[in-house]
């Protein structure tokens, strides 16, 4: 994969982007370990990708990042503090059924009570997405904050869409005047054929703090 795409050079030095990539790598690795501890599922990781985009380019960015026609559900969570932004988790449609086994939600597999199951399905699907999103986004942002020596507060996770291919509605959740630093990690739940996408996005308000924090992180390892 290309580790140096996008126009982040104008915003970040190469070293700053590399530090952020490593911080995201460590943070997501920790998040998946937390998930494995809670629901006994193994996640296959990929190298994180760091980009700077305008928020109004988010839809195009997502089209590029998500396989065409893949139907996804999206959950998100905002966080604020020195490190300010949003986490978005995209999971393909149908993954709830496979993941439900790990959370002992076997009712999703039951063919009975079809009339009732439809409602329960959506409620349980959203509940499950929110749970996974809460673990992954919370642990990932928490670890980034920890590594960068700060603390953040979170809004509760929110289900933003269930089974859609169009993500233009996401724009309304962001200030399109701002630019976003997007930290993207693709992952796969082992043996489940579930490919997900986690985005941690921060904005102009956090840039000055973030640049200082990234250098302080690396300086701790300088001689």
């Amino acid at each position: 994969m290309d580790n140096h795409p996008g126009n982040s050079d104008s915003f970040f030095s190469g070293e700053e982007r590399d530090i952020l990539q490593e911080v995201m790598n460590i943070a997501f690795g920790n998040a998946t370990a937390d998930l494995a501890e809670l629901i006994d599922i193994h996640t296959v990781l990929s190298v994180p990708d760091i980009r700077l985009i305008d928020f109004d380019e988010l839809t195009d960015y997502l089209k590029e990042s998500i396989p065409q026609n893949q139907v996804n559900s999206v959950a998100g969570q905002k966080f604020w503090g020195d490190f300010n932004g949003s986490g978005l988790l995209f999971l393909p449609s149908g993954s709830e059924r496979a993941l439900s086994k790990f959370l002992n939600l076997s009712r999703l597999d039951s063919p009975v009570e079809v009339g009732i199951v439809k409602d329960l399905d959506d409620t349980m699907k959203s509940g499950l997405l929110l749970e996974i999103s809460n673990i992954l986004i919370g642990a990932c942002v928490g670890k980034i904050s920890d590594l960068l020596d700060t603390m953040v507060s979170y809004t509760p996770p929110e289900l933003l869409s269930l089974e859609k291919t169009d993500y233009s509605f996401l724009i309304k959740h962001f200030d399109t005047e701002q630019r976003a630093i997007v930290m993207k990690t693709l992952f796969q739940f082992d043996q489940q054929n579930i490919n997900g996408l986690l985005l941690i996005m921060t904005n102009d308000k956090s840039i000055d703090w973030l640049k200082k924090a990234l250098h302080a992180f690396l300086n701790a390892y300088e001689n």
Binding site: M1, N3, E15, D18, I19, Q21, E22, N25, I26, A27, F28, G29, N30, T32, A33, A36, E37, H42, T43, L45, S46, V47, L147, D190, L218, Y221, E222, N223
Partner: protein, 127 residues
């Protein structure tokens, strides 16, 4: 005795952090490889005493590189340094012959301790 150390990691920052955490007073020669493929190539070329190996890398990942290096040299001393500390990842690398696994970011004292243990294991292997 450890003389040569090879660091295999796609992240220049991770390589720099690790390099800076390795004791300076032991006279180690430190070499770097930028992914698993490069790591295998440099292992064959340099015959390092210890390899620090990341797992999540583009192209040839650390799992494959570890397996390949251990198949080339059954005594290869590979210390996995990774953010991926899921139970299955840990058991997989240990099954493939890693000496130990260190969670990123590993502090200098942890690195030194792992190198000391590796040194002892090398001495034992050499009788």
């Amino acid at each position: 005795m450890i003389r040569k150390i090879l660091i295999v990691d796609d992240s220049p920052v991770a390589r720099k952090m690790l390099k800076n955490s390795i004791p300076k007073n032991k006279g180690y020669e430190i070499f770097e490889a930028t992914d698993g493929q490069d790591g295998i190539k440099k292992y064959q070329m340099l015959k390092p005493d210890v390899v620090f190996m990341d797992l999540t890398m583009p192209g040839v990942d650390g799992y494959t590189a570890l397996e390949e290096i251990r198949s080339l040299d059954g005594n290869a001393m590979v210390i996995v340094t990774t953010a991926d500390v899921q139970p299955k990842s840990i058991s997989t690398v240990m099954e493939r012959g890693a000496f130990t696994l260190l969670k990123k970011p590993a502090k200098a004292n942890i690195i030194e301790e792992a190198l000391n243990k590796a040194e002892l294991a090398i001495k034992e292997n050499n009788g």
